[in-house]
Amino acid sequence: MNDLIRACFSGDVRAVARLITLLENGDREAYAALYRLKDHAGRAQVIGITGPPGAGKSTLADKLIAQFRLRGLKVGVLAVDPSSPFSGGAILGDRLRMQGHATDPGVFIRSLATRGSLGGISKATHAAIRVLDAAGYDIVLVETVGVGQSEIDIVRVADLVVLVSVPGLGDDIQVIKAGIMEIGDIFVVNKADRDGADRVVREIRAMLELQAQLRRGQIPKGGPDTLAARAPEFLHHTGLAEGWEPRADNESGATGKEESITTPTPGVRPGAGTVSAALVNQEAGTISAALTIAPVLKTIAETGDGVKELADTILNHFETLSRTGELERKRLESIRYQLGQFVSNEIAHLMSLPELAAAQDELARKVFSRKMDVYSAGLALFHTIIEQGASHEHPQT
């Protein structure tokens, strides 16, 4: 295992690929070896690319890779596609659109199946990011399954999320709940040569403005109802959502309190909506000087139009994130998430051990035959797990 890890550091492609496979398979030794490393992480800039199906994420990723390569950056890509809930198999078709980079030694592309995870990425994605980081890739692109109700785990593993939408998606829009606007650090309207592109850009910006106003405790003209009234139509046009409703914590305006922009609102990613004015697309025009919102860009991924500007925006954004301390905060949160994942993985592993499975089974029968109540049984199981965990052997490296 150590040899494998060492090979990864030296950028050995086979080793990197092998290690990712082991992580995907849940190999605990691999996880232990990887996570024991303190120093070989944190260099890579992790960019999430998300958006509804048909938005052109893969084509955009393909062009972005070229842009980053022009700047001499090594790029790792993780492209996630859903596993079939029936067979457990998957057809991973994102790579197709990036195959032009297959023989570039500075590019590594790996397709991952969700294998049952519902968050838009797979359980091993975070670990895979670490591997690519350790192997020396400057940029790691993570392309998620799509965006919907619960597929926002990308937020937890990426430093920066690019949210891609398209004009005129019509009926096939995914239904998601409030929170979608919070996900994006940079918004892209792809297939911008289609009718309605400019309108989509305007509406996204308007939405972000409203959001920024509310967050500052300013009640936008027309009252908080404006948001609710405009949201469905706007989000419908962008293909981002239907049935969006503003959440209670957005109505900070009602209390008149100035909401500190450095205090994260539960569920709201810190940083969204606070990007400096310098990054705002020059065509803005409608944005008042006092408000700063995330950049909204137009691209035509097929031809590459606008992708150079997107790459510039992304790299500049990183600088800003570092400077303002935002990056640090995101990474802290991401680590907190990882720790949480680690613990739940350990528990899941313990639960799968025969002794514990047997204990769980026994307790279940007791509850079923009313010899025990659920609470007591649950507690008993909990204590058994803790005891087991304490005496259980963990992989040594």
Partner: protein, 134 residues
């Protein structure tokens, strides 16, 4: 978590007929495997590079243009050069039976001609993986 069989389905050369490749990809998916499809017009270099990055167990090469005797051995050769020896390589498409011994001598494990049921290919893969499932 579990171990999945990962398969790369590739179309080497200029042949544009992808009905078979797509049907087998779907069948393998329905059999629980993870399938990466490369798309058309792949060079042997692109195929092998993808196979390594994706750490696949199997490569399926689909070709109907008659260029198999040139392209298939090239893929196997590149795999060897890259040290990826544990990959099972099979072929499909329009490949005359008399060419099969040559292809096998070059490292192609099996050739599935027209009319082969997908179940046969699936069984073959399961029975001939070079890396154990566990």
């Amino acid at each position: 978590m579990e171990r999945k069989i990962r398969v790369l389905i590739a179309k080497p050369g200029l042949d544009g007929h992808d009905r078979g490749a797509k049907v087998i990809a779907r069948a393998l998916r329905d059999a629980g495997m993870e399938v990466i499809y490369t798309g058309l017009r792949q060079t042997p270099e692109q195929i092998v590079s993808a196979a390594i990055q994706e750490d696949v167990d199997v490569i399926g090469l689909s070709i109907l243009s008659g260029a198999h005797n040139h392209l298939f051995p090239r893929v196997v050769e590149l795999l060897k050069q890259s040290g990826a020896e544990n990959v099972l390589v099979f072929g499909g498409g329009v490949i005359p039976e008399e060419d099969i011994p040559f292809l096998k001598s070059k490292g192609i494990a099996e050739v599935f001609g027209p009319g082969t049921p997908t179940s046969k290919t699936i069984e073959f893969i399961r029975a001939n993986l070079k890396r154990p499932l566990n």
